[in-house]
């Protein structure tokens, strides 16, 4: 126990991070351990190349985009709190949360909306708040097998955009995005149990 708490002391501003992200002490330690393992030469931050070295990420079709999401606003490095903040999106939602939560407090990072927002910004490359047809096509190209022709991809993209597009601007706004997923159990599908 003593070793643990001394370990926790290594994490800068551990309490602040916990308050913001809702992670338990144990998970935070775990993540910090992982963070330092990723951080090749003890820089205290992670760079893109650190994350790109994770083997499985390279084959993930969305790997690059997910790496990018760790580096918002064109930053080239992410420190531990930034790292944890991103991962906090995937914390499971506790059932009793909405009733107990103080309405004045900001929405927790793992709320449905924030989970969706995270997914949305993976599509929205130019950060204009809209998934254009072009952006949709790019995602589809990543996701759909090579056997589907470009032409078919385009029609799928068209169709997908149209399906969600309600105001007729030919792009999917965040609102439309959430609406198209309103029947889906996002809380469950965007959570990882281990990140309690």
């Amino acid at each position: 126990m003593g070793a643990r708490s001394s370990h926790a002391a290594v994490i800068p501003d551990a309490d602040g991070i916990r308050r913001e992200t809702g992670f338990s002490q144990a998970s935070l330690l775990r993540l910090h351990h992982r963070f330092r393992a990723l951080d090749g030469n003890n820089k205290g931050y992670l760079s893109r190349t650190d994350l790109q070295q994770i083997g499985a990420l390279a084959v993930n079709p969305l790997g690059d985009r997910i790496i990018d999401s760790f580096f918002p606003d064109g930053n080239q490095r992410v420190d531990f709190s930034g790292f944890v903040r991103i991962l906090a999106h995937f914390r499971p939602v506790e059932e009793e949360d909405p009733a107990m939560r103080d309405p004045k407090q900001p929405e927790p990072l793992n709320s449905r909306m924030n989970k969706l927002r995270f997914a949305f910004q993976l599509y929205d490359l130019d950060r204009d708040g809209k998934i254009s047809r072009h952006e949709m096509l790019q995602v589809l190209r990543l996701m759909v097998g090579v056997q589907v022709t470009e032409e078919q991809l385009e029609s799928i993209a068209d169709r997908t955009v149209q399906e969600a597009d309600e105001d007729g601007d030919g792009a999917v706004s965040f609102l439309e995005f959430t609406k198209s997923l309103e029947k889906m159990n996002v809380e469950q599908k965007m959570s990882i149990r281990i990140l309690k």
Partner: protein
């Protein structure tokens, strides 16, 4: 066992077609009793009898009564028939079936029938034989459930399912057995029940397993949420291995006598659990692999595809049974494992065939099982009643099931993302139905070794009846009362599918980042492995693409759109923009306009528009434009669909390709027109031309001819029209008419009856695009105008109009059949050719004359005067080269077809046909 099987297998060979294959299964069921009595040879004689009279009677008998030769199969067929008729009767009243599960009704029916049989024959007959049950009745049900198991859901909950199946079953068996033994020791069970601890454990092991048949029968009607369903149902399937092992181990211990059991035997018992379960699963996976691989090479022999699925799955079952592994597990894994690849490989029709045959067999087997259960219960000679034992068993299985579920759930919830709540646990405990497996196992007991067998039989029957009837009856109200989350069916949307995939990838990536190799990590790994190696190996190249799930959803949405589009009258192009029925949020104004409906269906006999005078005039504009659009784009079949008599060959591959093309092109077209509608570009014109009578189309959806990079719309309507001549087709038609009456209409062209006004035409030229999109904004509705534009208006009265008021469709009488077919063929893409006669429809000559100058104008002003042809020529040529290999094949495979037919099968001739039209067109 294998000997018997090979006996019936022998009969499969001469007639590898779909129907005989289904019959075969019946025959194997039927043949079984006689097989048991007389051995294989006798069975072969029995089944052979209808075809070839075996012996030569001394004198020529005019009439011979041969009941004994057909008795066994005849009786089985009769029983199945009775069961099916009973099902029909039950379902006559919706109220009864909504309250009482079918399985209860069937058991009760079986009781009644058994009573009748007992009263008439004075002895109990037609009982559930364990051999019949395990070899013939159980496999189809398990295959059905394995094959149609939602695999994603199954694997998402695999941990819970395995826990309940293994730990839960062990727990139930031991606690129930031990508690009953305690009851016996305490004197609550009469001492005439001669059973020791091992006997009770044996009984506990057979009574403890939740039965897949019973669970499926009840839960399918209850509609609890998917997670709950998959857990209970998955448990019932997977616990088979545990049940089999426990049963066998206990049985051999009992036979050895408890004194002789050594410690090594216990260890062997534990080891056999792994051998039986993993072995069974491995057998299933091996056969799944074989099955997938085999179907990869069935392109030329589509007809045996469904047969292969059943044969190999059954072979998996029998192989596992032979090696005394868990056969249920083998079939489940086989179905689960092969589905993805098989579905991709086999043709659409085979898919439908597999689906229906599987469902038919499963439901048939289920019906028979429950009915025979009822009948078997009547036989009192097997019974020996002991109230203490019966009551004790009932209470214990309920109590220990509930306790086991609670304990296991508590442990599981520590690891589950979404914990199972109390209500789920109640349903899971209460849903532990026992069924025919337990009954068959208890019947199999050896009375000399297990002296209390009769008591066990009685108890098992009571337990099965209690769980199926009482729990089956009450579980629905219970679920309602507890407000268990029901399953909700919503239509899949492309967005959901896409985003779901995104989420999966995100989660896998996050697990990578976190460095935790959890479920998502391994699933992602598996998917990559599958994509890289397995799918490459097991799917044929052409099928590979279609299996992409996003594409799959897209494809299905298109089909559904097309269907509902047709259903609601094809009102897609309207001033409000595109309304695709599958798009959830759009307020689609489901107005009916017959023309669009007729057009879009493309089905038919009648493409004429003269049928409507009920349509409001404002709509007529749109109709006209829609008409032009569709006319211009209607897919011209290059070959005809034949009524094939060959049993070796049903489908033509080209046909499916054509179907797919039809959908793709159609959707592309609609999307394009949607875009242009939105941007308020428009217009087109197209120049309608009176032409040939309605063409039959199987796919029922309009399609573009042009696919080689050119917008299909460039295929100006007028161009096509200008070069197609009905004179030609009529001549041909007459030639054909004597030979094949039913087919002659098939080759007819499309009637082009609408004309565009010059104003529209000009707009089209100005816009420079040949986009065909009508909009009321551009064409103000006016009756006069409409009349001008809708030439069929003047032709009113030529046709009888049939208005079907129960739907919003207005369909001319002579189209009804084609209409229905086109809708159904959308679903299956596999309906027989529409052979209905076309009563249509030449345009009034007056109109033709009126159009003449306009046609010339069109031809001269059109920027691509010759475009109509290149696409279709190019396409025909392309398809010829593609299918040239198929032609000889088809001829070979269709020996029964007339000589003339080949002309229609070969795209080459279709091309020349078009050429002739072209020439004639120039003359015109």
């Amino acid at each position: 066992m294998l000997g018997r099987w090979s006996g019936s297998f022998f009969w499969l060979v001469p007639s590898p077609s779909f129907r005989p294959q289904f019959l075969q299964f019946e025959i194997s069921v039927e043949a079984f009793p006689s097989l048991r009595e007389n051995g294989v040879v006798a069975a072969e004689e029995t089944t052979q009898e209808p075809g070839a009279p075996g012996e030569h009677p001394p004198g020529l008998a005019l009439f011979r009564w041969q009941w004994h030769e057909v008795e066994a199969p005849y009786l089985v067929a009769l029983w199945i028939l009775v069961a099916s008729l009973a099902k029909i009767v039950f379902h006559l009243s919706r109220k009864v079936t909504s309250l009482v599960p079918e399985s209860c009704l069937l058991i009760l029916l079986g009781l009644v029938l058994g009573g009748i049989v007992l009263a008439v024959a004075k002895k109990a007959e037609y009982q559930l034989e364990p051999g019949t049950f395990f070899l013939f009745l159980l496999p189809p049900i398990v295959l059905d459930s394995g094959y149609f198991m939602p695999s994603r859901l199954f694997f998402d909950n695999l941990g819970a399912i395995l826990t309940y199946a293994v730990v839960g079953t062990l727990w139930n068996a031991f606690t129930t057995g031990a508690a009953l033994w305690g009851l016996r020791q305490a004197g609550f069970v009469a001492s005439r029940v001669q059973a020791g601890l091992l006997d009770f454990l044996l009984f506990g092991s057979l009574i403890s397993a939740v039965d897949p048949v019973a669970v499926l029968a009840v839960f399918e009607e209850v509609h609890v949420n998917e997670t709950l369903f998959i857990i209970v149902f998955g448990e019932s399937l997977l616990n088979d291995a545990v049940t089999v092992v426990l049963y066998k181990v206990c049985n051999s211990f009992v036979e050895m006598g408890s004194a002789n059991v050594q410690a090594a035997d216990y260890l062997k018992g534990v080891a056999s659990l792994f051998v039986v379960s993993l072995g069974g699963a491995a057998v299933g996976l091996v056969f799944a692999f074989l099955l997938a691989l085999t179907t990869r090479f069935t392109k030329r022999v589509r007809i045996i595809e469904p047969l292969l699925v059943f044969l190999l799955a059954y072979a998996a079952y029998l192989t596992a049974e032979m090696a005394s592994l868990s056969a249920i597990l083998a079939v489940t894994m086989c179905g689960l494992g092969c589905k993805k690849y098989v579905e991709a490989n086999i043709s659409h029709k085979s898919r439908t065939a597999v689906k229906y045959t599987m469902k038919t067999l499963a439901s048939c087997a289920e019906t028979v099982i429950f009915m025979l259960l009822g009948i078997s219960a009547v036989d009192s000679s097997k019974w020996a009643w002991d109230s203490g034992l019966v009551l004790g068993t009932l209470i214990f299985i309920l109590f220990f099931r509930a306790l086991g579920v609670v304990l296991q759930t508590w442990v599981l919830n520590q690891f589950r993302l979404v914990p199972l709540d109390k209500i789920d646990q109640v349903v899971m405990s209460y849903g532990g139905l026992r069924g025919a497996v337990a009954f068959a196992l208890v019947i199999l007991l050896d009375r000399t070794k297990v002296p209390a067998k009769d008591y066990f039989v009685a108890t098992t029957i009571v337990v099965v009846f209690f769980t199926v009837i009482v729990q089956g009856l009450t579980i629905k109200p219970l679920v309602k009362w507890l407000k268990v989350k029901r399953s909700e069916h919503h239509k899949p949307t492309l967005n959901q599918e896409l985003h779901e995939h995104t989420f999966d990838h995100i989660l896998a990536a996050v697990e990578d980042v976190v460095g935790h190799h959890g479920y998502h990590y391994w699933r992602d790994r598996w998917e990559q492995f599958d994509k890289k190696y397995l799918s490459q190996l097991l799917m044929r190249r052409s099928a590979y693409r279609i299996r992409d799930q996003i594409w799959d959803v897209y494809y299905r949405l298109n089909i559904r759109d097309a269907i509902s589009f047709v259903d609601q009258g094809g009102h897609v192009l309207s001033s409000t923009g595109l309304t695709l029925p599958s798009m959830p949020s759009r307020n689609s104004v489901a107005e009916t306009s017959v023309t669009n409906l007729l057009r879009e269906s493309g089905s038919g006999a009648c493409l004429d528009l003269q049928v409507i005078d009920t349509v409001r005039s404002g709509r007529d504009r749109e109709d006209a434009a829609m008409h032009h659009l569709l006319c211009g784009g209607l897919y011209k079949p290059r070959r005809r669909y034949k009524a094939s008599c060959s049993r070796h060959f049903i489908s033509e591959d080209a046909q499916e390709r054509q179907d797919k093309e039809v959908f793709q092109q159609n959707m592309k077209r609609r999307l394009e027109s949607f875009k242009s509608t939105k941007h308020n570009i428009c217009f087109t014109k197209s120049k309608p031309r009176p032409h040939k009578a309605g063409r039959k189309k199987k796919d029922g959806v309009a399609n573009a001819e042009a696919i080689n990079g050119k917008p299909p719309r460039d295929l100006g309507f007028q161009d096509t029209a200008a070069v197609i001549l009905n004179v030609e087709s009529e001549e041909e038609e007459e030639e054909e008419s004597d030979s094949s009456e039913t087919e002659k209409e098939d080759d007819e062209g499309i009637i082009f009856v609408a004309r565009a006004t010059s104003e529209v035409l000009q707009e089209g030229k100005v816009s420079g695009s040949l986009e065909l999109c009508p909009s009321p904004r551009v064409i103000p509705p006016s009756p006069t105008c409409a009349e001008k534009e809708l030439p069929w208006k003047s032709g009113q009265g030529d046709l009888a109009v049939y208005v079907s008021s129960e739907t919003t469709k207005i369909v001319p009488v002579d189209m009804q059949m084609g209409w229905n077919q086109s809708i159904s063929s959308l679903e299956s893409l596999a309906s027989p050719p529409c052979t209905q006669a076309t009563t249509l429809t030449r345009l009034p000559p007056r109109q033709q004359d009126a159009e003449e100058p306009q046609a010339l104008l069109d031809l001269s002003s059109d920027p691509h005067p010759s475009f109509a042809f290149p696409p279709s020529l190019a396409k025909a040529g392309r398809s010829r080269s593609e299918s040239s290999a198929d032609i000889p094949q088809q001829q070979e495979l269709q020996p029964l077809m007339g000589h003339k037919d080949h002309t229609h099968l070969s795209p080459g001739t279709a091309t020349s046909h078009w050429c002739i039209h072209f020439n004639r067109g120039a003359r015109l």
